[in-house]
């Protein structure tokens, strides 16, 4: 299914929308199901990033279409009971895109530091 979608939409251009980057960042550690992606994004951002069902799956669909994410099969999560869940994993293209976006954000932060908009990097 993912392969058929890849041909229809081009990979997203930088800067990535925040939800897109958050999802890619959550998948960098390994494959996850929807709730795990949402929870990881919320924990990493101290609860400021809350991906609703429509935003999460709408973004995942776009990422699948663009070939940045692929489906990793269905299985139960031992921590969450017997219910089968669809897992998603990041592709090589997704990694490259996420890395490019992280570098872009890093340049923005460094520029903000140079201009003393924010303090020096904590040790």
């Amino acid at each position: 299914m993912a392969n058929a979608r890849k041909e229809t939409i081009a990979p997203p251009q930088l800067p990535l929308p925040p939800a897109t980057f958050q999802i890619l960042l959550a998948l960098v550690d390994g494959e996850r199901h929807g709730y795990s992606i949402m929870r990881e994004a919320a924990e990493r951002s101290d609860g400021t990033v809350r991906l609703g069902p429509g935003t999460l799956y709408g973004t995942l669909k776009r990422l699948l279409d663009a070939g940045l994410v692929e489906e990793g099969g269905e299985r139960a999560d031992p921590e969450m009971g017997d219910e089968r869940r669809r897992y998603y994993r990041i592709t090589e293209l997704g990694m490259t895109t996420a890395r490019a976006e992280a570098r872009r954000l890093d340049r923005v932060v460094r520029a903000a530091r140079r201009k003393r908009l924010i303090g020096p990097e904590p040790a």
Partner: protein, 204 residues
């Protein structure tokens, strides 16, 4: 599942109707699963939770519907472009055949009467043929006003052929069918494909 949970899930399923059908077919089960996980595992509930859910649907559903419409539009454009090209080539070919036909008509008319009407008929026939060739070329070039130009050329061709019928009454059935039938068919085609802007389609 408690009655309260059941009602909450039913309300969420109703909210999913805001999303495009193909998106629902692919993701509704997982979205319900996520909703359930947030309530059971994340212990999320109350007005704030529902506000978040409704706002998320209000933001994401229209965006997905617009994306769906755009994707449908792109497929429609491909279909029209696929149809437009053969019609355009046909218009050029019919124009060329009309030139040959005008020459034949002129030859036949001259042998019968040899008056100035034959010359006028041939001249009008050549203009009609040139208009059809022009319509075909405009459609092939996919210019911004291609559809409008093709429409004007088709109407012009139709007027020319009707005029020829007056000045050259011995015009053949073949000439009439080709000269009147094809521009009408072309106008019907352009009319049927006008709704999403044939000109913009051709430039897409």
């Amino acid at each position: 599942m408690s009655a309260r949970e059941d009602a909450a899930e039913r309300a969420f399923r109703a909210l999913l109707r805001a999303y495009p059908p193909d998106f629902r077919a692919g993701y509704a089960r997982e979205m319900v699963q996520l909703f359930r996980d947030r309530r059971r595992v994340g212990h999320e509930a109350g007005m704030r939770f529902w506000m978040e859910i409704v706002l998320d649907a209000a933001r994401s559903a229209p965006a997905l519907r617009i994306e769906r419409l755009r994707a449908t539009g792109r497929r429609g454009n491909q279909l029209t472009e696929g149809t437009m090209r053969p019609i355009a080539i046909l218009a050029v070919l019919v124009g060329v055949v009309q030139v040959a036909n005008a020459m034949l008509e002129w030859s036949a008319g001259r042998s019968q009467s040899g008056d100035g009407y034959s010359v006028a008929g041939v001249a009008l026939g050549l203009v009609a043929a040139a208009l059809l060739v022009g319509a075909g070329i405009a459609m092939l070039r996919r210019g911004r006003d291609a559809a409008a130009l093709a429409r004007v050329a088709a109407v012009g061709c139709l007027v020319m052929v009707v005029l020829i019928r007056f000045v050259q009454p011995w015009m053949s059935i073949f000439g009439l069918l080709l000269g009147i039938g094809f521009p009408i068919a072309l106008l019907v085609f352009l009319f049927l494909t006008r709704s999403s802007g044939p000109a913009s389609r051709m430039t897409a």
